[in-house]
């Protein structure tokens, strides 16, 4: 596996059972979870409330201990303090100290990372600029609105220029501008080679920024794969063009009905998404210098982020482990051990099954906004087909080469195919 795709997080059979006061099993929040987050990707952890997203994240950070199964972050146990040097975490609520102001909050976490005073101060100011709260930095967090506290939460997550960023419901409580800024920041960080794990139940957020997603339900994986592959409708074709006359539409209809013997399901003017409309309105207001006491900001990423070489983290941690072997033990990453022959074959199939990058223009829709530079808008602008649907398709994996039945059983054994389990 290439260095770029080396896993940062790996879990095998991860299970968390919460117990009650008398140590009796109460609820299995996460059940036999196999997860892999690869270097440089934006990984989405989806699921409804109570599906085990936050519990998984807490286990990744060593805040909860797994009941069963293995977990490794940068090849080390998550309780290892050295691992946390390279992690940025934005929890589901802002969980900041109410009595500190924004600058003191960032200063506290900067000190925890043992940053030099000069570096710390510099970063704090840049981060405050990024989240647009520099003018409000003297106010205590307790006085902030939820969205403002959330922005400081994001700033503290970035203070150490983390290699791996864990964002638990990052857009919760934010206004649409904030949501857009966060999404832009996520994309920009991803472009700088950061690995991001994003947990959310707001599907639009995930769809816009994630490369790969896993959907959890009841603590188990229900579906996983690259976003564009999971969402593309193989049985439909969408054509978007400049406005056409009725005459031309009629000709096209004839062409399709006669040539392909298929029906056109919908013809009409595509509507803007509300987010795009809202952003446009606010941009106009900002251009007109309308006063506001809330957060303002460019959302531009501070230049200190992404200056470290991403590939060095694992080596540095392993080197640290060599120097101080008594402090923490290195977990051998699941995929780094020498695979057996049968497994090698299966691994190739898994590669094809879930990891294959889309080659060429997979998406059949042609977006009118595809010329705009931000990757977020590039993804968000694809209009949904609104015609009546014949049947709701199951979440699926795109299989370029359908494996044989024998191969399937090997794969199923290896990764615990969820679809199969669902049928059970």
């Amino acid at each position: 596996m290439s260095e770029r795709n080396a896993p940062i997080v790996q879990t095998a059979g991860l299970t968390k059972v919460f117990k009650d006061f008398w140590r009796r099993d109460r609820v299995a929040a996460v059940n036999d979870l196999n997860l892999e987050v690869r270097r440089g990707e934006v990984f989405g952890l989806l699921g409804p409330n109570g599906s085990g997203k936050s519990t998984t994240i807490k286990m990744l950070l060593g805040l909860l201990y797994p009941t069963r199964g293995r977990i490794s972050v940068f090849g080390r146990p998550p309780t290892d303090v050295a691992v946390k040097e390279h992690i940025g975490f934005l929890p589901e609520e802002s969980f900041l100290y109410r009595f500190l102001d924004a600058r003191e909050t960032l200063d506290l976490y900067g000190r925890i990372f043992k940053q030099h005073t000069r570096v710390r101060r510099e970063r704090i100011e840049k981060l405050l600029d990024m989240v647009g709260l520099r003018s409000e930095a003297g106010r205590r967090i307790g006085e902030y609105s939820k969205g403002m506290a959330r922005r400081i939460g994001l700033a503290q997550a970035l203070i150490n220029d983390p290699e791996f960023l864990i964002l638990d419901e990052p857009t919760a409580g934010l206004d649409p501008i904030g949501i857009r800024q966060i999404k832009d920041v996520i994309r920009q960080l991803a472009d700088k080679g950061k690995t991001i794990l994003l947990s959310s139940h707001l599907l639009a957020d995930v769809e816009d920024v994630c490369d790969r997603i896993t959907i959890l339900y009841g603590g188990r994986v229900r579906a996983d794969g690259p976003v564009n592959e999971l969402l593309s409708r193989e049985d439909r074709t969408q054509i978007i063009s400049e406005k056409l006359t009725e005459d031309t539409i009629k000709k096209i209809r004839h062409l399709i009905e006669d040539g392909e013997h298929k029906a056109i399901l919908k013809v009409g003017a595509p509507s803007d998404r509300l987010e795009a409309f809202f952003m446009h309105t606010v941009e106009q207001a900002e251009a007109a210098n309308v006063r506001s006491s809330g957060a303002k900001g460019s959302g531009a990423l501070p230049d200190f982020l992404g200056t470290r070489k991403p590939a060095n983290v694992v080596e540095s941690l392993v080197a640290a482990a060599d120097v101080k072997p008594t402090h923490s033990k290195t977990i051998e990453p699941v995929a780094l051990r020498q695979p057996k022959r049968e497994e090698q074959r299966a691994a190739q199939l898994i590669e094809q099954l879930v990891c294959k990058e889309p080659t060429g223009p997979v998406a059949k829709s042609v977006s009118p906004e595809s010329a705009t530079p931000t990757p977020a808008s590039q993804k968000s602008a694809a209009p949904e087909p609104a015609a009546p649907e014949p049947a709701t398709p199951e979440p699926k994996k795109v299989l370029p080469d359908e494996p044989s039945a024998g191969d399937r059983s090997v794969i199923d054994n290896l990764i615990g195919r969820t679809e199969k389990r669902d049928d059970d």
Partner: protein, 460 residues
Amino acid sequence: MTRIWAVARQTIAEGVRMKVALVFIAFILLILGGLPFVLRNEDSVSSAVQTFLSFSLAGLNFFLCLLTIFLTRSLSEEIAGGQILLMMAKPVPRWQFVVGKWLGIVTINGVLLVFSGLAIFFVAHGMAKYQATDEYDKLRLRDEILTARHGIKVDIPDFRQDAEDYFNDRLESGGYSGVIDFDPKRERNRLLDDFAQIDRTIYPLESRDYLFSNIRCDRTADRTVQVRYEAEVWAYPPDEILRCVWVFGDLDKGTSQYVFHRRDVIARRQSIFVPADAIAADRTLKATLINQNPFEGEPQFGNTISFTTYDVIEMFFPVGTFGGNLARQLTLVFCRLMLLAAFAMMAACLFSFPVACLMTFCFIVMASMTGYLSGSLIHFESEGAYYWFKKFAEVLYSVLFFIIPDFSRYDGASLLVNGRNVTLMWVLTGIRDLVLIGTTAVGLLACILFQRREVAETSF
């Protein structure tokens, strides 16, 4: 250390901004500023100063204990409120987090203790300077209260030779020939007691010399030492006043000699302030009690003066200053607070806010009442059915007292109020027992418990 101090800074900022510390400072100002005026009704300024010291030290101790409980509450709240999740996702080892929190609380306690100590010092001196008008009162304040004195008992004379001689004389003269079950050892001890009792009994018109030795203080005339005694008097006809003469100093050793004519109320503890130049160069002070009425025109009764033991004749001499004494006492208070903070941290690592606070409060109560509890157990009648109950209580208490130290053993407040020296050795013992052993052990336990717990799981 950077991380520990970062956590400590946050704790201090929270403590200060929560205004808990502010309320505390306001209280201290109110008590320390108001007490001197409230206590004006006391019969003398010296006793007012003593009451002030006693109240303010007890109040300070109590409120700092409460403050410690309130401040450790922040750890329980962080666990319940989720701030701990963010902090523990950072590269701070858990033990450093616990130590940082503890350090923050202890720093607030320390700063408040220093300020309160300074306030107590200046208010006590201010009362002595501006409120005391009576010369005797001023002298008492200077030499008996706002000082640090060391107390010594009178030397016990050696009567072994006298007893032996008497014993031998009587043995040779056949004085014991008719005694049944004669035990020479017991007889010698009885004779020793008799000689000592005779020495401590002064019949009318008799006098007796007593010697204090190993007095380590300044021997200049402007300093005084205090001699304190409590005599039993058989007066016939009955009287309330004992009239007698005390003479201090030894002319043979070249010291000054001071004669005090006394009218003492019988069955009360008496004090005489003797100029320090009565002390001889060999660091001894000779005191002579003459059982004779020095006051002309007042009736002379046949009083017999007796001291039950030699311990009731004491002297005190200054060995340090009030400020030093106060500092040592506050250091002992600080040691107790360090242990308390460690215990409160341990409780907060395990339990949520009200439970942890209640546990800490119980710890304070137990530690303050250990003496009473063990005392009451000794006097508990264990007849019949109560026998097993007492056995059970003894085992339970012995376990509890092994864990919870007796705070009264490390409290010099009563000594300070009486101007007695809080010795450095005592303070060092306090530091060893409460900080080096107690706090380290409890803190270690807190770190281990916190290391093992899942911080994201709610505590009960």
